[in-house]
C-alpha cells in the first residue's frame, strides 16, 4: 500500500528535448491511476522515471514520502507489466513467475508458495509447467502479470498492456484488469493512449500532451469539465466539436457569436466573463450528444447541412457542415434519416464549454 507523489518532475533528453515538463501529481494508496495521452506526450517517460528506468532531470518522486530519485528500480519495490510481455522465452510459466524472487535469493519453499498464490489468483495454475512459447497472447499476458504481482510490489506499473489486442479482447481485458486490481488493492499506474481504457478503468486520470500535464481528475471530471481544449477533444467518442467564436454582451446577456451560430451563454459562464480581462475570441466546445436536431428553426437554433450519416446500430452519428464551414458531429437516434446536403436545424444544449484561444484553458478554470 503506497502513495506515489511526483513534484515538479522534468525529463530532458540531450539537455534539449523536453519530454516531460514540470509534472506534479499524487496517486493515492490503492488507486488505479491512468496516464493518458497521444504518442509522444511524455506518459511513458514519466512511467519509466517512476520505475527508475530513466533518470529524473529535475524534481522529486516520492513513495510514501520517501525520495526515490536515486534508487535503482530493483530497490523501489515496484513491478512492471509490458505491452510485449517480455517473458523469459526459455523458462516455463512457473520459472517466469518465480524469477523475481529467485534472483533476490528468496528460499525455495517461499517461492513455491508465492508462485502458486499468484497463479491461483490469475487462474493459470494449470499452465505452470508449460513452456512460455506455446501460450496464447492472453495467457502470456497473465504470466507477465503473475510475474509482476508475485513480489507483492508497492506500486504496479502497466505500460499499454492491452493496446495490441483486437477490440473484443481489449474489452474483455479491461474488465479483467479492473477486477484484478480491486482484489489486489495495489496502487497501480496505467499508461495508455486509449481514452476508453482510461475512462472505464481508472479511479483518476492524468491527461498529458507534449510533455505537459493537462488535467488530473476522475473520469467524470475530465469528461464533464475538461480543463483545456486538448482534454475536451481527446476524451470522449465521438470527439467534442470545436468552433471559433466571439463572446459578446448584448442587453446585459452574453452570447457566443460566429458566422455559423448565435447562442446564449449559461449563467455560470456569464459570471466568469464579468471580470474577464482578455480579448473576446474563444473556442466553443460542445459534445455530439449535447446537440439536438429540431424540426423547426427557432431564434435559438443553428442551421447546418447534412454531410454524411454513419449508422451504428444503437445510434447514428450525423456529420453536418455549419454555415461557416465547420464540420460538426451530432449524435442522433438509430432511425434518423436525412439526405446528403439536406438542411437541418440544430439546438446546442449545455454543457457548452469555452476555451481561451491562446492558452486553450477552459474559462471556468480561470
Amino acid at each position: 500500500m503506497t502513495t506515489l507523489k511526483l513534484e515538479n518532475v522534468w525529463k530532458l533528453y540531450d539537455d534539449k528535448v523536453i519530454a516531460v515538463e514540470d509534472v506534479s501529481f499524487t496517486c493515492n494508496d490503492g488507486e488505479f491511476f491512468a496516464l493518458l495521452g497521444p504518442s509522444g506526450c511524455g506518459k511513458s517517460s514519466t512511467l519509466r522515471m517512476i520505475a527508475g528506468l530513466e533518470k529524473i532531470t529535475r524534481g522529486k518522486i516520492l513513495f510514501d514520502d520517501i525520495l526515490v530519485n536515486e534508487l535503482e528500480p530493483r530497490d523501489r519495490n515496484i513491478a512492471m507489466v509490458f505491452e510485449t510481455y517480455a517473458l523469459y522465452p526459455y523458462l516455463n510459466v512457473y520459472e517466469n513467475i518465480g524469477f523475481p524472487l529467485r534472483i533476490r535469493g528468496v528460499p525455495r519453499k517461499e517461492i513455491d508458495k508465492k508462485v502458486k498464490w499468484a497463479a491461483d489468483f490469475l487462474g493459470i495454475t494449470d499452465l505452470l509447467s508449460m513452456k512460455v512459447r506455446g501460450l496464447s497472447g492472453g495467457q502470456m499476458q497473465s504470466v507477465g502479470i503473475g510475474r509482476a504481482i508475485v513480489r507483492e510490489p508497492s506500486i504496479l506499473l502497466m505500460d499499454e498492456p492491452i493496446s495490441h489486442l483486437e477490440a473484443r479482447q481489449r474489452a474483455r481485458m479491461r474488465e479483467e484488469l479492473v477486477v484484478l486490481q480491486e482484489r489486489l488493492t495495489t496502487t497501480t499506474i496505467y499508461v495508455t493512449h486509449d481514452q476508453i481504457e482510461a475512462m472505464t478503468m481508472a479511479n483518476r486520470i492524468a491527461v498529458m500532451n507534449l510533455g505537459k500535464l493537462q488535467q488530473v481528475g476522475t473520469p467524470k471530471e475530465v469528461y464533464s469539465v475538461p480543463r483545456t481544449e486538448f482534454v475536451g477533444g481527446f476524451i470522449g467518442e465521438p470527439p467534442m466539436n470545436f468552433a471559433n467564436c466571439e463572446l459578446v454582451r448584448e442587453n446585459g446577456k452574453f452570447q457566443a457569436l460566429s458566422d455559423s451560430f448565435r447562442i446564449n451563454v449559461s449563467e455560470e459562464i456569464s459570471a466568469c466573463l464579468q471580470d474577464y480581462k482578455g480579448d473576446n475570441q474563444f473556442r466553443l466546445g460542445i459534445r455530439p450528444e449535447s446537440i439536438r436536431v429540431v424540426p423547426e428553426a427557432t431564434s435559438e437554433s443553428t442551421t447546418a447541412s447534412v454531410y454524411v450519416l454513419e449508422p451504428q446500430g444503437e445510434r447514428t452519428i450525423l456529420s453536418v457542415k455549419l454555415t461557416g464551414g465547420e464540420l460538426f458531429l451530432v449524435e442522433v437516434g438509430p432511425d434518423f434519416h436525412a439526405e446528403v446536403d439536406q438542411s437541418v436545424n440544430l439546438e446546442f444544449r449545455e454543457p457548452i464549454h469555452f476555451f481561451e484561444k491562446d492558452s486553450g484553458l477552459n474559462l471556468v478554470y480561470l
Partner: protein
C-alpha cells in the same frame, strides 16, 4: 461504375491445407458501398485479391457488369486496390506513389502531368498527409503509410475501389474522421466500393450493404440494419453490436421459458407454440442485447433474474455493467445517471419482444416469431 458479382469462389493455400474461401457468393451493386465484415483469418484479404486479380480463383467466377473477369489481368480490370499491408513503392516519395496510378507505364488513360499533380495534392490533403509529399515511405509512421496506400487507390476514378482494412492502423480519432470522409467521397463519386473490415461498427456506419464472412463462408448478406436487427445465427448475433448480444440458455415451459441460472421469461401463447414446433428439442438459445435489459430492485415482482454487479464501465453518458449470477455472466448497457456499486445485488428484466431465438443444435435463428 461496375456491379461486382462473385459466384461460388473457392481458394485453397498450401495444397489444400488452408481452406481460405470455401464457397463464397455475393453481389456488390453498381455505385454502392459494400462491406465484407469478418474476424481475422475469415478470408477478407483473399476475397479482395481474387476480385482484384492479384491471385487466381481455384473454382468459381467473378463478373464485372455481367462480364466474366476471372481470367483477365488486374490492370485490365480497371480497379484500384488499397492493400492492408500498404505495398508502397519504397524508393518513391509519397507524391510519386500517389502519382503512379495516373502515370503508370502501359496504362491507356494516363493523365496529363498538371492534372495528375493537382489530384495527388488534393487527395493527400484530404487524408491529412499533404505535408509529407516529399518523404519516402521509410520516413513515415504506420498511420501515415496507410494513408498513402489509401490515397494511391483513391487518385483514380476506376470502375471499383477494393479497400482492404484501409484505416485499421490509424489511431481512433483519425480512424473516425477518415470513416466519415470515405463515406462522403464514395457518395460524391458514386464509385462501387468493396471494403473489408473486422470492425463491426465500421461496417455498420459505412455500408449500403454488407456480408458477414467467417472461416471462408458467407454467414449473412443484407443491409447493416437488417443484419443488426435480425442476425441469422448465434455467431452473427454475438459479432454485431458492442457490447455483444447476450446469449442465454433456456428451456421451454408452459407459458414461456425457464432461463438457465435465471428466472422465467413469459411468452405469449403464439410465440411459445411457434418455438415448440420449430425446435426439435425443448431447449433454446435466447439472445438479448445489453441495451434491452433493465435494472430494477431485487425485490421487483416479475424479474428475469437477480444478479450481482461485477464491474461498471462508464463512458460519458452511457455505461456497460457486467453482471454475474451463480452460473453466468452477461452485460447491460444503459444511461450512466446512476452508477451501481461493484458487488451490489440487483434485479434485471427484459421483454420477449426484444429477444432473438436460436436453435441450440444448429445455432440458426428461429424465424417467424
Amino acid at each position: 461504375m461496375a456491379k461486382i458479382e462473385v459466384k461460388n469462389i473457392q481458394k485453397e493455400y498450401k495444397g489444400g491445407q488452408v481452406n481460405a474461401l470455401k464457397d463464397v457468393s455475393f453481389e456488390c451493386a453498381d455505385g454502392k458501398f459494400f462491406c465484407l465484415l469478418g474476424p481475422a483469418g475469415a478470408g477478407k484479404t483473399t476475397t479482395i485479391k481474387l476480385i482484384g486479380g492479384v491471385e487466381a480463383v481455384d473454382k468459381g467466377e467473378i463478373f464485372f457488369d455481367g462480364k466474366a473477369v476471372t481470367d483477365i489481368l488486374p490492370m485490365e480490370r480497371d480497379i484500384a486496390i488499397a492493400f492492408e499491408t500498404y505495398a508502397l513503392y519504397p524508393q518513391r516519395t509519397v507524391r510519386e506513389n500517389l502519382l503512379f496510378p495516373l502515370q503508370a507505364p502501359f496504362r491507356k488513360e494516363n493523365w496529363p502531368v498538371e492534372k495528375a499533380e493537382k489530384r495527388a495534392v488534393e487527395i493527400a490533403e484530404l487524408l491529412g498527409i499533404g505535408e509529407l509529399l516529399d518523404r519516402l515511405p521509410q520516413q513515415l509512421s504506420g498511420g501515415q503509410r496507410q494513408r498513402v496506400a489509401l490515397g494511391r487507390a483513391l487518385v483514380r476514378n476506376p470502375k471499383a475501389y477494393l479497400l482492404d482494412e484501409p484505416i485499421a492502423h490509424l489511431d481512433a480519432k483519425l480512424r473516425h474522421r477518415m470513416r466519415g470522409e470515405l463515406k462522403r467521397i464514395q457518395i460524391e463519386l458514386g464509385i462501387t466500393t468493396l471494403y473489408t473490415t473486422p470492425d463491426q461498427l465500421e461496417a455498420l456506419s459505412l455500408a449500403d450493404e454488407m456480408a458477414v464472412i467467417n472461416q471462408g463462408i458467407i454467414e449473412q448478406i443484407g443491409t447493416p440494419e437488417s443484419i443488426y436487427k435480425f442476425p441469422k445465427n448465434v455467431f452473427i448475433a454475438g459479432f454485431i453490436g458492442d457490447p455483444p448480444m447476450n446469449i442465454l440458455k433456456a428451456n421451454i415451459i408452459e407459458n414461456g421459458l425457464k432461463l438457465e441460472g435465471m428466472g422465467i421469461l413469459s411468452l405469449p401463447e403464439k410465440q411459445n407454440n411457434a418455438l415448440s414446433t420449430n425446435l426439435s428439442e425443448s431447449s433454446v438459445l435466447v439472445g438479448i442485447r445489453p441495451k434491452d435489459i433493465n435494472l430494477v430492485s431485487p425485490d421487483h415482482k416479475d424479474l428475469q433474474a437477480k444478479a450481482q454487479v461485477r464491474n461498471t464501465q462508464v463512458l460519458g453518458e452511457t455505461m456497460v455493467i457486467t453482471m454475474i449470477t451463480d452460473l453466468i455472466e452477461f452485460h447491460v448497457k444503459m444511461s450512466s445517471e446512476v452508477v451501481p456499486s461493484h458487488g451490489e445485488q440487483v434485479g434485471i428484466t427484459f421483454d420477449a419482444v426484444d429477444c432473438h431465438f436460436f436453435d441450440p443444435k444448429t445455432q440458426i435463428r428461429v424465424e417467424g416469431l
